[in-house]
Symmetry: D3
Subunit: 222 residues, 6 copies
């Protein structure tokens, strides 16, 4: 029985990055498989794109359910999170929600590194729905799309500058990487800022494994 | 040029009820056409159903755009609201959002009459995303599905009892009907409670007509 | 039967500006008359001045009630809003409240352009009373009085600079003009910022016309 | 030099009750004089009545200013509080604001005993403007007008029942008397509920005396 | 290297209950040792008792640090949580904080089952400090002390009744057991309410193991 | 009978500064004695240090109780505030809580001058627990420890610069000195900023004297 981490964009490189990021959690004993949603766009940069992944993601989850102990939806925006929870009694974790809840245990005010300015209003709606806006220090955009993130030359300095602005100008004492495709920069950011940095796929997978081990996922049956 | 009110469920009876509800606004001069999303479910009662209407709704809106001045998405839950705003520069109004904003100008604490208990967590997420939870008096469910709402015998007394509980136990001084299929009961509720009652399709259409007249819809161009 | 827009300051030039701003809404069919409160100060810049307009405004509204379908109180600060609602069953809309509710349907975080720094604490109290502080991006003052606003040379650049600071430093994605005397600058600000700009008298009048058409104003009687 | 406590209603009996309530504070050394606003209504039960007291209250304060060290506005609703602060550099304290701030140092969630149901939306706006709604347990109305409060037979049991409902059903661990005319019942309520009970005129006068002693009132000059 | 779960009360029976509760997480591979703070009181029922455990707990943690990968502080109230975080770079998790963050991923509004009425103001302060009060459905006390909890006859029905009141009257869709000594009743409560029930020691230990595996604990060094 | 102001750090110089600060309140008639907690650290700069003062402070208060009418805990952070309230029926006031409540009656948004950056997350937790984050303009650190504060050369300009940044960049219209050792700079800050400045020991002592005079301290008995 497996924990499936579904990358709702169609980029295999992003899926590979997620797979590397969650690797330390394989020591917990449950197999973790990262899968790509073939029907997704190469990167999810708008609400319409995010919403468009829900129907195929639900179908994919349905196909996988026989082998599954739980699911992680690996897009910062958590598309389909509540829809999938309606459809299954297995553990369902969204990386945005999990990242915020983990960050709130590591610092008092979290800062978010987003890809594009257009992501920020979506994040504000999500943080409002979670009821955690009092804990938000700031949300700043890199101005880079999902695909550009794969190019370290273009990305690394922008991430460090954004992280430091969140710390120094907004008062963040913990940082959240606001996209599933940023995992490789976590250590760089920690060193550059001296702050804990939450990679959302990692903490979501850890959260899901905890729910599974404790039967919080399918509590209805047990 | 027309304001389109899209009912994302496939029930023509609900569309007809919406059409009657918005009729007083035709005096403003802009044609209003209420259309049914054929691909929708008979009633939208879960997050998965709501999310499933987004893709076909976006396609319908795209087909109608040539004749349109604006759109109202007529499901309490506003599925696809932000996705459609990403796609068009026309006015796009969601009935839930419009109902809350209208109610906040008619009373200090609004009460919501929902159909099923499962609707309430979804509403809480929406009200949190809107940042208006301090104005919520309460949200109470009838325990009736969308289809049952069409039967006045089963519905009227339940609505009155729920409305009075929101007023007397929760402190509501304005009420919101939490479903597009409740319009016919508005006057009954006002008489029974002595409170203003917001029918969400009505205020959403009025809001859209205002945005259109004031060029708030396609402000980018003008 | 008429919608009366009451300018509680005594400046006829401000009233003329409001009249021009609401003109597009005359197409809805209801006559709109903008009237000046002769007893008001030339400009309302303090809480004491705002409070001082309430008694004469209530008398003016009483005199007009026989010909009225509703009232808009056209001062950002909404002096006497709840007092007039206590006195009449007609529609009563405040431009500040209406502007905020309209803005919350056009963007996630609103920025406010105020006239003087002393206005800002008053606005904070109002936004707190409305329960919408989580949606506020920022409130910045031009440092210009109501009378100076009539001089475009002194005003236009200050408004553009303030609007851009709200967008770029505070994260606003929709702007509210925080005074009834700013209407003429709306288009300039939209072009300069690329953001929707809410002129409060316009959206208040639209809101009032909607309430009237839907009998939300005198719901007690119908 | 004197602290003036202005009762903005015209009832001398209420002023006498306030005078008795603040008497223990005369030991602090500053003379306290309670004065009645002759132009006020016999009791303030609506927003329009409250607003109507502001202009004559400002005039009264102006006349008294030469002998004054500070003012308390003794109506729960704080009419004219910010207007008077605009007009004078002396200490100006509102009894509602002072009561809330005192209660928040005596318990975690405060309950308010109001006179009429119509008071509650006004209170909610005030508590929202103060930013303290997270600390409110509940606000319950006696259903008695200001004049009826003077009749102990009609009032005492209603106050005890309301206080106990705030404690037992709403979770209040400190109570606020939501009207300047309730002072005589404070001890009864404390005995009946076992909770601390804040009489707003008392804590407002204490707060004003503190501001005066510490020069927080006219900090501009010193 | 071990995860230490410190029970700050001196009751070995409570420690044994915690040990049983976290047992499913031993499959993750890291040794988990539950230790009793000998200097603690038999049960922690007041703020003074909670604060009194901090100094000996810090000393115990210091002694254990050489063998430790992280610590869980197993008292609902999280005494010393931030003090211990100041002292060590290892993972430090509080069961109250962890329980709230886990519950917020399992439902929209959490209900808390407390032991005594006096616990509730402390919880309110904590939830306010966490910034999560918008997600709280209610907090209800059993009226039983820590020691009485060990007697199933006295406890089980009270817990079920309290849990159902949180669900039916307060709208909770997820429950938190508000004391480290309630673990044995989790399954009973799930069956009786049909809601997920969070046992705080379990989710805190899972959270700590995740932080350890992902180096979120001592991010400073790596 | 005496009001005791307990300085929980062991610096006699800080105690002397507090004694001078509260001196104007001796005119109220109640003796005020400022005492040093010998067991405290020279300055309290971390949560662990603050928590460590609670046990000896409770013992000191117990010894003093026979001569006491009330206690002020004179450390910004209010260590042991709720523990001491559990232990005595006398008035117990914390300087942080009192400062916030006083500031909220002097301006709409308060700014806090802290000593070290590490103080700020602690303050955020406290302001959240108080439910007043909507009133916070900002909290900025001097970057100076408690001991350095005693050196005016090093401190005065840093305080003025920080105060002006709170006013000009964060929008504060009232300032709070976020440490018991800053009292001597109050007048300088008022002149430099034109804003009211709250020295927390002063307002806490005033608040305690008011509670004592009004029997709000030991309401249980009277």
């Amino acid at each position: 029985m497996t924990l499936f981490v579904i990358n709702p964009n169609s980029s295999e490189a992003v899926t590979a990055g997620i797979d590397a990021a969650v690797d330390p959690l394989r020591a917990f004993g449950t197999p973790i498989r990262c899968v790509t949603l073939a029907e997704g766009p190469p990167g999810i940069e708008s609400q319409a794109q995010a919403d468009g992944t829900i129907a195929p993601m639900l179908k994919l989850a349905e196909r996988l359910e026989g082998e599954a102990q739980g699911f992680v939806i690996a897009c910062f925006g958590d598309p389909g999170l509540h829809a999938l929870r309606d459809r299954t009694t297995l553990a369902v974790v969204g990386i945005q929600e999990a990242a915020v809840m983990a960050a709130m245990q590591l610092g008092q005010r979290f800062g978010v590194i987003s890809i594009l300015p257009g992501s920020i209003p979506r994040h504000m709606r999500s943080f409002g729905a979670m009821g955690v806006l009092d804990r938000l220090a700031g949300d700043r955009a890199l101005g880079l799309g999902v695909v550009q993130l794969a190019d370290p030359g273009a990305t690394e300095q922008a991430m460090v500058d954004t992280a430091r602005a969140l710390r120094d100008q907004d008062g963040a004492d913990v940082l959240i990487m606001g996209c599933a495709g940023m995992a490789r920069y976590r250590k760089t950011l920690q060193v550059a800022t001296g702050l804990p940095v939450v990679e959302p796929c990692q903490v979501a997978a850890a959260q899901a494994l905890g729910q599974i081990a404790l039967n919080l996922s399918h509590w209805r049956d047990r």
